[in-house]
């Protein structure tokens, strides 16, 4: 946990110091090094809205939202992993960089 919190420091300021100075809606959140965590609220927001339009039976709504959120998060992770593999493994073999 301490390791995780230490990632949320900017320019030597600790998390409590940053949060005390933070003014909601006026200042950016100190998440420069943990930005990938924002994938979860983003996918949840998309799923909540899209499934509210799409589902025929609202009794199945939250179940569908949970499934769609998981699908979105996993899809982004898989696409991100593929891009990582292409850029760092495939491309250097196709177009070798000069030493």
């Amino acid at each position: 946990m301490n390791t995780f919190l230490s990632t949320l420091t900017i320019a030597g300021a600790s998390l409590p110091e940053l949060l005390m100075a933070y003014r909601p809606f006026l200042d950016p959140l100190p998440l420069q090094r943990a930005w990938y965590l924002l994938l979860f609220p983003l996918c949840l927001g998309i799923a909540v809205t899209y499934k509210a339009v799409r589902v025929p039976d609202m009794r199945r709504y939250w179940r569908d939202v949970a499934i769609f959120t998981t699908q979105l998060v996993l899809s982004v992770v898989v696409v991100g992993g593929l891009m990582f593999w292409v850029v760092l493994w495939v491309l250097p073999r196709i177009v070798p960089m000069p030493a």
Binding site: F25, D27, P28, W35, G45, T49, A52, V53, V55, P56
Partner: protein, 194 residues
């Protein structure tokens, strides 16, 4: 398995009132149409994404002057996005004089809006002035890098989702779940033989 259930949306006319209210406030079109729960969830989702983006990157993520292409998509949230942008431009940015070089090489001074720098505050005329104390914060802090990108993206996706919601409110569908016979199953082949 002899039948594959499928969602089938039948068109159910055109509802201009619901469409207009959906443009004015996300989710309101469905509430007007009588689908209160659906409307509240749509509104909560879209506004949650829009204000969530502002919570992540600050009011700086809604900026029609510096990030105009992104603001086009954010403006699809409705009048709320224009209101936030107006407040940002007129109550948080400072009016600064900058030197600009014209194409024919002439130097001229123009007044432009920009975010206040860290040790600047905004005076009553909107001009930037040095802060009296180092602890005086600027009107808002300009977000950079990932927080700015993600905050902007949240608002942009909120706007694009609102288009889906407006279309669904204006052109309602019955959203019936009907059973569609599967074409190439053992059950279907037996039915054809019989």
């Amino acid at each position: 398995m002899s039948h594959t259930p499928d969602t089938h949306a039948e068109p159910a006319g055109f509802n201009p009132l619901a469409g207009i209210t959906a443009i004015i406030l996300p989710g309101a079109g469905h509430v007007v149409r009588g689908e209160r729960q659906r409307g509240l969830l749509i509104g909560g989702g879209i506004l949650g994404l829009f204000f969530g983006g502002m919570l992540i990157g600050g009011i700086d993520v809604v900026d029609s002057e510096e990030d105009f292409p992104w603001f086009i998509a954010q403006s699809l949230v409705g009048p709320l996005a224009f209101g936030v942008d107006y407040v940002h431009q007129h109550y948080f940015k400072v009016l600064a004089v900058v030197e600009q070089v014209t194409p024919d090489g002439q130097r001229m001074l123009i007044e432009t809006r920009r975010s206040a720098y860290p040790r600047e505050v905004r005076d009553e005329h909107g001009k930037p002035t040095p802060a009296a104390s180092p602890t005086d914060p600027p009107p808002n802090t300009k977000s950079l890098s990932k927080t700015n990108e993600l905050g902007t993206l949240f608002g942009t996706i909120a706007g694009m989702l609102n288009v889906i919601a407006v279309v669904d409110a204006a052109f309602p569908t019955a959203r019936r779940r009907i059973a569609k016979p599967a074409a190439n199953t053992a059950g279907a082949r037996e039915a054809v033989k019989a």
